[in-house]
């Protein structure tokens, strides 16, 4: 029985539930200092001078903007260098948002470090600030940068546009002329916080040879290693970044976290290990999700076929360009890959503002585009008098079509597609046929059912290299007792990527799950992996592990051949209850040798270790599809929305970890409800956040705010992705992609009011319910 597809105990389960699993917060080194960070109180300010004498008098060691290397970098190196925009230093001489780190301080205790922060005297020159994208686009608005860099090329800035992308396919204008109807709407999504459980932490140990060891919250040990090497001018062979468990991330650590190079700078200056933990408040001032405005225009014929789609996007990226160019590319891709528009145009601008920097959050623009497109689908269906599910089935992009979710440079042909199964099964389970129109409902409490479908990519690889780097590595070796060690650089965010890789290797080598373990590794002991992002952990990281395991399998057969005196081509590897993992002679199955004996013999006879190291790039980036059918109840007197029932349907190809997949679907749904109905970060005119960075004032939903377990139904489509390990694709980000739209569509079905701006808070909905002119006929 294969291990892939079975529910098995997590490898890190006992350590995690017993509190013994080390996270970066738990690393303690002898003689360690503790650090804290002074952050800008103003939205835009030049730092003229930092007087550290007061802090030094308290025994603190300070790191000022004058003392960090004058290196401009981008903390995210997922894109190829020529597509990487650079605009930041470890500590800036001009702070561009409230909360930007200005000075690092290390002391004997964390308390002392925080007290030392109050002793800093900083001479500020306040600069005019701009706090929204619309303002920032005006020529007279204050400019954030005079110059930024694209790769090694300087860009002289004339305004605040960080980058733009214009992508056209076909002839959109001709398409709109052909249309019987053209539907245009404006949708907005707000800034919001990642809300990962673990706040960022870093520990840096300076080494006598000039090198550093780093334990930190990361999504990629290799990228962090490279950025640190680049900033501090240390050869990579002397920079090591350890792989640790991470308490969630939701995209907020794809890039190197801003505190890591500060911690390193303090360690190098003090010559002692330094630990820097972000308090939650600092973290909330460190990263945000992008705020976007999307104007979507779709041309459609009376028969429901589309003739053109055009989307204009303005993304407020905040004070730093972390990945805005890629964001616009993927937003175009998500739009292009949802339905057969025939003609297509995307125009996006990413705009600097004096706000907390925006970065990817579970889906990287996908749920945003989905919020627009999937509401648009319902609007069009209603206009045409069509069933919303049917209209989707008529137009979706599926098997045999081109998918380019990760942007125009990453195109794949879809070979596995569960869209139809998802929509049909979901309809049956929710009782779609019994769904009534809004005008048929009355009374204070009204229920509505909504559908939305989405997807995400599985990784960013493909038949040819694109703008984004994508490959992974693995080292696998067979120990002398027949157990197996995996050295993988792939970070598990908590979703079970590690267990998936173990199962994939176990099944490739026919070794039981219990005899395969993940080794403690770091950047030094592993080959490169780009990052656990883009829903690529299982498909790309697992794909690389499967590829390397095949090589180990070849070695096992070769060693067995020496023992059995047979050609390896006549041998087979198998696992049975009686023999365990063994190699047998295909023409004479009674002749066999166990893997344990092969490994032991290879050692005793000094033949060597059966092991392989390799890297592998997937040849595709297949979409994992998703569908949400949601029932809500709206209290029309208070505007409160309760999600009462949901069907969550995924197409992840072969399901590697069924329980964990169900958990991921439910978890993303729970979070999605919060994003749909509640969560948003507003920047006040002072540049501070409306919640002040306090989690008590940025509320995220609880288990009480989701439907009870028996009202959430999880379904896995029956597909097989032949390019993936054992048929698997990704799922992680897909799980969130269509939640907001499904909730918004369900609210419309309940009360006949459509809200185009997230979040749909009770305040917003009650106001909309009180304004009858907003109700669409």
């Amino acid at each position: 029985m294969p291990e892939v597809g079975r529910n098995l105990p997590r490898k890190d389960g006992v350590a995690k539930i017993s509190g013994k699993e080390p996270y970066s917060h738990d690393i303690h080194l002898p003689n360690m200092l503790y650090a804290a960070v002074y952050r800008s109180p103003l939205a835009h300010v030049r730092i003229r001078y930092v007087d550290t004498s007061g802090a030094q008098a308290l025994g603190a060691i300070c790191l000022t903007p004058q003392e960090v290397p004058d290196v401009i970098y981008n903390e995210r190196i997922v894109s190829i260098p020529t597509k990487t925009y650079k605009d930041r230093r470890v500590l800036p001489t001009v702070a561009r948002h409230v909360g930007e780190a200005i000075v690092g301080v290390a002391a004997e205790t964390e308390e002392l470090a925080i007290r030392a922060l109050s002793s800093l005297r900083i001479d500020f020159e306040p600069l005019p600030s701009v706090l929204n994208a619309e303002e920032a686009l005006k020529p007279e608005s204050p400019k954030l940068y005079d110059r930024i860099w694209l790769g090694e090329k300087p860009i002289e800035m004339t305004g605040n546009i960080a980058c733009e992308r214009h992508i056209t396919e076909g002839d959109p204008e001709a398409g709109f002329r052909e249309a019987d109807f053209v539907v245009e709407r404006r949708y907005t999504t707000p800034r919001k916080y990642h809300g990962q459980m673990e706040t960022k932490a870093a520990v840096c140990q300076p080494l006598p040879n000039g090198g550093i060891n780093v334990w930190a919250t990361v999504q990629s040990v290799h990228n962090v290693r490279q950025v640190l090497g680049q900033i501090y001018g240390i050869p990579l062979s002397k920079v090591n970044v350890k792989k640790l468990s991470i308490g969630g991330s939701f995209g907020s650590s794809i890039q190197m976290n801003s505190i890591i190079p500060i911690c390193v700078g303090l360690a190098l200056k003090s010559g002692r290990p330094v630990k820097l933990i972000s308090p939650r408040e600092d973290d909330m001032y460190d990263h945000s999700h992008y705020q976007t405005e999307m104007v979507l225009k779709v041309g459609v014929k009376q028969d429901g076929t589309f003739t053109a789609a055009k989307m204009n996007v303005i993304a407020d990226i905040g004070a730093h360009h972390i990945q805005a160019d890629a964001l616009l590319g993927v937003m175009a891709g998500w739009l292009a890959s949802l339905y057969k528009w025939k003609n297509f145009q995307f125009d996006g601008q990413a705009v600097y503002t004096n706000k907390v920097p925006g970065c990817a959050l579970q889906g990287f623009g996908n749920p945003l585009v989905n919020f627009a497109v999937e509401q648009h689908m319902d609007i069009i269906a209603e206009m045409l008098g069509r069933d919303p599910v049917d209209l989707r089935l008529q137009n979706y992009i599926g098997e045999g079509d081109v998918f380019w979710g990760q942007g125009p440079s990453i195109k794949s042909i879809i070979e596995s597609c569960g869209v139809e199964e998802i929509l049909r099964e979901g309809s049956t389970r929710i009782g779609w046929n019994q769904r009534r129109e809004p005008h048929e409902k009355s009374g204070r409490y009204r229920r509505g059912i909504g559908v939305a479908r989405g997807f995400h990519t599985s990784g960013t690889a493909g038949p040819k290299p694109g703008d984004v780097i994508d490959f992974s590595s693995a080292t696998i070796k067979v120990n002398e007792d027949g157990t197996v060690d995996i050295l993988t650089p792939v970070i598990d965010h908590g979703g079970g990527t590690g267990e998936a890789i173990v199962k994939i290797v176990a099944d490739t080598l026919h070794v039981p799950y219990t005899m395969v373990e993940l080794s403690d590794v770091d950047a030094r002991t592993t080959g490169y992996d780009v990052a656990t992002h883009a829903t690529r952990g299982v498909y790309c990281g697992g794909g690389a592990a499967a590829h390397v395991a095949e090589e180990v399998r070849t070695q096992i057969l070769a060693m067995a051949g020496r023992i059995l005196d047979e050609e390896p081509s006549g041998l087979a590897l198998d696992l049975t209850a009686e023999r365990g993992t063994h190699v047998y002679v295909q023409s004479d199955p009674n002749r066999f040798v166990s893997l344990k004996d092969i490994a032991k013999t290879a050692q005793i006879k000094s033949w060597g270790t059966m092991a392989a190291t390799g890297s592998y790039r997937q040849s595709s980036a297949p979409p994992c599809f998703m569908g949400h059918f949601v029932e809500v109840e709206v209290d029309t007197e208070t505007g409160e929305v309760r999600v009462v029932r949901a069907i969550l349907l995924s197409d992840a190809g072969t399901v590697v970890n069924p329980d964990l997949l169900a958990g991921q679907l439910i978890g993303a749904f729970a979070r999605g409800i919060g994003f749909a109905l509640q969560e948003h970060t507003q920047t006040l005119p002072s540049g501070t956040l409306n919640h002040g960075g306090w989690l008590t004032d940025y509320r995220m939903g609880t288990s009480c705010d989701v439907p009870p377990p028996d009202a959430m139904d999880v379904y896995f489509a029956h597909t097989y992705e032949s390019t993936g390990p054992f048929g698997a694709k990704g799922v992680a980000e897909a799980a969130l992609s269509s939640v907001w739209s499904a909730v918004a569509n369900a609210i419309y079905n309940a009360v006949g009011v459509r809200v185009y701006d997230l979040p749909i808070t009770p305040e917003v909905l009650l106001e909309a319910l009180s304004a009858p002119q907003l109700i669409e006929a």
Partner: protein
């Protein structure tokens, strides 16, 4: 940006008195410069955030004299140092002061309710304090003590504004007095409108009433988070107490009255407009719920 909720960096003296008497003498000596620490769920957070600084922190957490719930005369006397869980789980509280039980169960989660105390919830004087709204509806009285003696203040007169009460710097809240209901049966409910479960209230309502031989009497209605202090909705109470049974006309009148009795603001949790709109609905909903329980014989 110097504040955080992770590390308490401020310097202070932590004093661990062994008796109430010792607390009183410490308060007499340090008064304004001292803070009383019970559960710490508000105080320590405020100190970490730099919203409050105290040279002396007097730790009352372990004082048994201030814990426990006793029936004394016509009152239930709740020690100010009793944990929220202890109060919420008390059989007498659940039977006779159901709105208080409701309110306590709506506070944060079990861990916070284990640490937080009923006295802390009162003295912290947050306009959004959940238990306080129920205590005001139950017409609780608060016993304050200093070295010279004790005094008892009505809950309706105790609060002066956010974080401000009539407690003098040398006084400690020792007990919460709840007059035990004399009617045949009692009902009460608390409802909080929050952004999510366990949230700080956008608005909150507590309604209590008793059933006597003449009908449903002694209606008390209080609200939180809609003014600087808890609000007693006297006019709503009058409508309820003078009109029986509760019908559609009265609930409409209640809705119209509530908005005039409150002075909510815009803040991070909600808007003044929303609070005004929804307060009337929530109050009338809760009054109906209480009424129906008497009608249905549940209370």
């Amino acid at each position: 940006m110097l504040a955080n909720s992770r590390v308490l960096a401020a310097d202070f003296d932590l004093i661990n008195p062994r008796s109430l008497e010792e607390v009183l003498s410490l308060l007499a000596a340090h008064g304004d410069r001292a803070a009383l620490l019970f559960g710490g769920t508000d105080l320590l957070v405020q100190m970490k955030m730099g919203r409050r600084s105290s040279e002396k922190v007097i730790n009352c957490r372990w004082l048994e004299e201030l814990k426990g719930i006793q029936e004394i005369g016509e009152n239930l006397e709740i020690g100010a140092g009793s944990s929220l869980n202890q109060v919420g789980e008390d059989e007498r509280v659940r039977r006779e002061f159901p709105a208080l039980e409701d309110a306590i169960l709506s506070i944060a989660g079990p861990a916070i309710r284990h640490m937080g105390t009923i006295g802390g919830n009162v003295v912290n004087a947050s306009p959004a304090a959940d238990a306080v709204v129920a205590l005001v509806a139950h017409r609780a009285r608060f016993r304050l003590q200093n070295q010279t003696g004790t005094r008892v203040v009505d809950s309706t007169e105790f609060f002066l504004g956010p974080g401000k009460t009539v407690r003098r710097p040398d006084e400690i809240l020792t007990h919460i007095l709840l007059a035990r209901p004399q009617g045949m049966s009692v009902s009460g409910h608390f409802r909080k409108v929050g952004r999510v479960a366990g949230d700080i209230a956008k608005l909150s309502v507590a309604v209590t009433a008793e059933k006597s031989l003449v009908g449903v009497v002694n209606w008390h209605v209080a609200m939180g988070s809609v003014a600087p202090t808890p609000v007693v909705l006297c006019e709503v109470e009058a409508l309820l107490n003078h009109n029986r049974p509760l019908d559609g006309d009265i609930t409409s009148a209640i809705r119209a009255t509530v908005a005039q009795s409150i002075t909510p603001i815009d803040d991070v949790r909600s808007t003044a407009w929303y609070r005004k709109r929804v307060s009337g609905v929530t109050v009338s909903d809760l009054c109906e719920q209480v009424w129906k329980e008497f009608e249905g014989g549940k209370a």
